[in-house]
C-alpha cells in the first residue's frame, strides 16, 4: 500500500518539476538561442529555433572588445566586495537586533526597513550631488557604498530572522565557558546560520551585479562601468544589437550561476545540527 502511494507522489513531483522548469527556463533557453542568430532573424516568423546562420559572432564581438571585458571585471569586483561587506556589517547589526533589547530598537528597525521605500529615481539627483561632494564620483567606492545601502536592509532583516531561529542557549553555552559575545557570534551562531547567510549573500551579489540606474548615473567613463550599463549601450538610437545583448546577458549570468553552483551545497539538509533539542 505504502509503495503504491509513493509511486503516485513521485510521478506528481516529477511532472510538477518539469513543468516548473519549463516555466523557469524556457525564456532563458530562448535568450541563448537568440544569441546565436543574426540580428534580423531574431524577429522572423515563423520563429526559428536553431538558426541556419548559427554563429558565435555575437560572443566574439564581446570577447574581442576590451571595454566589454572590463565591464565584466568591474561588475564582478564590485559585487564581491559588496557581498563581503554586506554580510559582515549585516551580521553585526542583526546580532544586535536578535540578541538585545534597547531603547530605540524599534525606531532604528523601522527606519532601516522604510528607507528602502524611497523610489530610487527621485533619490537620484540629491544622492548624486552628495556623492560628487564626497568626491566619490566615478569610482568603485561610489558603486560599492551605494549597493551596500540597497542591500543592507534586506541583509539585516533576513539575518536577524535566521539568527532568531537559533536559541539563545547557544550563546549562553559559549559565554558560560568564559567566551565573549563576539566569540559566541562568530564561532557558533554564524556557522550555524550558514544556509541563511548564503542565501543573503547570493541575493546581495545579484543586486550588485544587476543594478543599472545608479551604475549609469554614478559613473562617467567606460572603465568604471558594469555589465548592465554595457548591455544598454548596445541599444543605439537607431539600431539595437539584439544578438550581442542576448550574448552579453548570457555571459553576464554565468559568474552568478557558477557562484550558485559552488555555494548551493550549503542549502542541503544536514545543517540542522544547529537546532538544539529541547
Amino acid at each position: 500500500m505504502a509503495g503504491k502511494k509513493k509511486w503516485y507522489i513521485k510521478l506528481f513531483i516529477i511532472v510538477a518539476l518539469v513543468m516548473g522548469a519549463l516555466f523557469a527556463a524556457f525564456p532563458v533557453l530562448w535568450m541563448l538561442l537568440s544569441s546565436f542568430k543574426p540580428n534580423a532573424e531574431i524577429f522572423a516568423w515563423p520563429p526559428t529555433w536553431i538558426s541556419e546562420n548559427f554563429s558565435f559572432d555575437a560572443y566574439a564581438a564581446i570577447f574581442t572588445n576590451p571595454e566589454q571585458v572590463r565591464f565584466f571585471l568591474n561588475s564582478y569586483f564590485v559585487a564581491m566586495v559588496v557581498v563581503v561587506l554586506s554580510l559582515v556589517v549585516g551580521i553585526l547589526a542583526s546580532y544586535s537586533f536578535s540578541r538585545f533589547n534597547f531603547p530605540g530598537k524599534s525606531l532604528i528597525n523601522t527606519l532601516i526597513v522604510s528607507v528602502q521605500a524611497v523610489p530610487p529615481i527621485t533619490l537620484l539627483i540629491p544622492y548624486l550631488s552628495l556623492i560628487v561632494t564626497l568626491k566619490l564620483y566615478n569610482t568603485y567606492w561610489a558603486l560599492i557604498l551605494t549597493y551596500l545601502l540597497f542591500t543592507l536592509p534586506y541583509a539585516i532583516l533576513m539575518i536577524t530572522g535566521y539568527l532568531n531561529t537559533l536559541p539563545k542557549d547557544l550563546d549562553e553555552a559559549v559565554m558560560i565557558d568564559g567566551g565573549s559575545r563576539w566569540q559566541a557570534l562568530w564561532r557558533v551562531l554564524v556557522p550555524t546560520a550558514v544556509p541563511g547567510l548564503v542565501s543573503v549573500g547570493m541575493y546581495t551579489f545579484m543586486q550588485a551585479w544587476n543594478e543599472y540606474l545608479f551604475a549609469l548615473a554614478l559613473t562617467k567613463t567606460n572603465d568604471m562601468r558594469t555589465v548592465p550599463v554595457g548591455i544598454n549601450l548596445l541599444m543605439g538610437q537607431h539600431a539595437y544589437e539584439w544578438n550581442q545583448m542576448m550574448a552579453m546577458s548570457v555571459l553576464g549570468s554565468l559568474p552568478v550561476l557558477l557562484l550558485f553552483l559552488f555555494f548551493q551545497r550549503y542549502f542541503i539538509a544536514g545543517m540542522t545540527a544547529g537546532a538544539v533539542k529541547n
Binding site: Y140, A217, H238
Partner: protein, 451 residues
C-alpha cells in the same frame, strides 16, 4: 571541519578582494586611453592651429569631455579619429564619453543638477527648450559671436528666446520605405502618390494569412517619437502644420483632422500591423526587415541595417503620399544629432572651437557620409560616391522637400508627443467619439505646457 573551510574560504575571499581593491583603489575614475587609440599617423609635430577664431587662449593641455551616443552608430573608431585630428590641430584633448541613447536625457538632467555634466553634449531637438530654460546649456549665439564664427553656413540652429542653444550636426531624413516585393506580389506596380491611392494599395497588399500588413506606426508611450516621425510626417508632407505662431493649433485645423482620420481608417480596416501600442521604432524596423510591412516611414540611417538583415529585399523610397489635391511642396521629417555646450563648462572658448570644428565643411561632410545622414553645414559637400543608389534616391527626395520638425524647441516636447499619443490611442480604440474631440482634448493639454 566545515567551519574551518568556511572561515578559510571567507578569509581568502577577503584577502583577494582587498588586494585587488588596494591595487585599483587609486585607479578609480582614470580616463582610459587603452581602447580609443586608433588614430592613424598623428602629426604630433604640427600643433599649428588652423582654426579661424580670434580667441587668444592657446587651448593647449585642456581636456574637453564630449558626451554622446553617436559612437555606437558610426563605424568603429571613426569618432575617435575625428577627435584625434582635432587634438592634433589645436592641442585640445577630447575625452569621449558614451551613454545609452535612451538614458541620455536623464543623465544630462542629473548631470546638470549635480555639476557633473560633460563640457560638450550631444542633444536631441526635443530636449533643447527644457534644458535651455533650466539654464543647463550655454548660449551658443554669444559664443559664436565672440569667436567670430560665420553662422550662415549652418543649415539650422535651434533657439530659445532668440538665442541658439543647439546646432544640428547631421540630419536624418525620414522618407517612406517601400518593400517592392510585397507590392509586386499583390500586383501593384506603381507607388501611391495620394492618400486615397495609398489606401487602395494598402488594401491590396494586406494579407493576414501571410502576416503582411501595409503600414506600421510605433505608438509606444515609453518613447513617443512615433508621433513625430510616423504620424506628423503625413501632416507635414501635405504642407500642414500643428502650430500657429509657435502655439498649438490642433483644433480648427482641417489638415490635422484629416490626418487623424486617415490613420484611424488605416487602423479600423486592419491595414496596420498588430502591436502598435507597444511598438517602438526599433521594433518597427525589425518587422519591415522581416518582410511583414509594406510601407514604413523611417530614418534613412536604417538603410544599411535593413539591407544587411534582408539582402534580397527590393527596397525603394518614395515621398509620403499627400492629401488628395495637394500640389505644393512636401515637408520631410528630420531628426538630428545636435550638439550643445554645458553652462557649467569651464572651457567654453575651447568648447565652441570643437563645435565649430565638427561643423566645418570637411569634417561635417565626413560625418554625414559615415552616419548615412545629411550634413548640417550648407557648404559641406559629402562624398556619397560609395553610397548606395538607394541612398542617393532618398537624398534626391530630400532635396525636393523642405526639412521640418515642429517638435524641436517646444517646451517638454516629449511630454507633448506622449499626450498626443495617448489621446490618439483613445480615439483609435473608440473611446473618443471623433477626431475633433480628440484634438480639442489634446489642445487643452498642450496649451497647459506652453504656459
Amino acid at each position: 571541519m566545515k567551519l574551518k573551510t568556511i572561515l578559510k574560504k571567507g578569509i581568502s575571499v577577503l584577502a583577494a578582494g582587498s588586494m585587488i581593491f588596494a591595487l585599483t583603489a587609486c585607479g578609480g575614475g582614470s580616463s582610459s586611453d587603452e581602447t580609443s587609440d586608433e588614430s592613424t599617423g598623428t602629426d604630433s609635430a604640427d600643433t599649428e592651429s588652423t582654426s579661424t577664431d580670434d580667441s587668444g587662449g592657446s587651448g593647449e593641455g585642456v581636456t574637453l569631455e564630449f558626451q554622446q551616443w553617436w559612437g555606437v552608430e558610426l563605424p568603429e573608431g571613426f569618432l575617435d579619429e575625428i577627435c584625434q585630428d582635432f587634438t592634433d590641430e589645436t592641442g585640445i584633448n577630447i575625452e569621449l564619453l558614451s551613454n545609452p541613447y535612451a538614458d541620455t536625457k536623464t543623465q544630462i538632467a542629473a548631470g546638470a543638477a549635480s555639476g557633473t555634466m560633460a563640457d560638450v553634449v550631444g542633444l536631441d531637438g526635443s530636449w533643447v527648450y527644457d534644458f535651455a530654460k533650466q539654464g543647463s546649456i550655454a548660449n551658443l549665439t554669444e559664443l559664436m559671436e565672440t569667436s567670430g564664427y560665420d553662422d550662415s553656413q549652418l543649415s539650422d540652429q535651434v533657439q530659445f528666446e532668440g538665442n541658439t542653444y543647439m546646432i544640428p550636426v547631421v540630419n536624418f531624413a525620414y522618407p517612406m520605405y517601400v518593400n517592392m516585393d510585397i507590392l509586386n506580389e499583390a500586383g501593384v506596380t506603381e507607388v501611391p502618390k495620394t492618400r486615397s491611392e495609398f489606401l487602395e494599395v494598402a488594401k491590396k497588399v494586406t494579407n493576414p494569412d501571410e502576416n503582411v500588413s501595409a503600414f506600421a506606426i510605433p505608438l509606444s508611450t515609453e518613447s513617443p517619437s512615433g508621433i513625430q516621425n510616423n504620424f506628423m510626417s503625413w501632416l507635414w508632407a501635405s504642407g500642414g502644420s500643428m502650430l500657429k505662431d509657435g502655439q498649438p493649433n490642433l483644433t480648427d485645423n482641417e489638415d490635422m483632422t484629416a490626418t487623424v482620420d486617415f490613420i484611424k481608417q488605416l487602423y479600423d480596416e486592419n491595414l496596420m500591423i498588430a502591436g502598435t501600442y507597444a511598438m517602438e521604432e526599433a521594433d518597427m524596423v525589425e518587422e519591415f526587415t522581416n518582410g511583414r510591412v509594406a510601407f514604413m516611414i523611417d530614418s534613412l540611417a536604417h538603410l544599411l541595417t535593413i539591407q544587411e538583415g534582408a539582402p534580397d529585399m527590393n527596397i525603394a523610397f518614395m515621398k509620403v503620399p499627400v492629401q488628395d489635391g495637394y500640389t505644393g511642396e512636401s515637408g520631410m521629417d528630420v531628426a538630428n544629432w545636435g550638439i550643445g555646450i554645458a553652462e557649467n563648462c569651464e572651457y567654453k572658448e575651447e568648447a565652441i572651437q570643437f563645435v565649430e570644428y565638427l561643423m566645418s565643411p570637411e569634417v561635417n561632410a565626413k560625418l554625414a557620409v559615415a552616419a548615412n545622414a545629411f550634413p548640417g553645414n550648407v557648404n559641406a559637400e559629402p562624398d556619397y560616391a560609395d553610397a548606395d543608389q538607394l541612398f542617393m534616391d532618398a537624398y534626391e527626395l530630400f532635396q525636393e522637400s523642405y526639412a521640418i520638425n515642429e517638435f524641436t524647441g517646444l517646451p517638454t516636447s516629449e511630454e507633448l508627443m506622449r499626450s498626443f499619443d495617448e489621446q490618439l490611442q483613445l480615439y483609435l480604440d473608440g473611446d473618443t467619439a471623433s477626431a475633433e474631440d480628440m484634438l480639442s482634448e489634446t489642445q487643452t493639454i498642450w496649451e497647459e505646457a506652453f504656459q
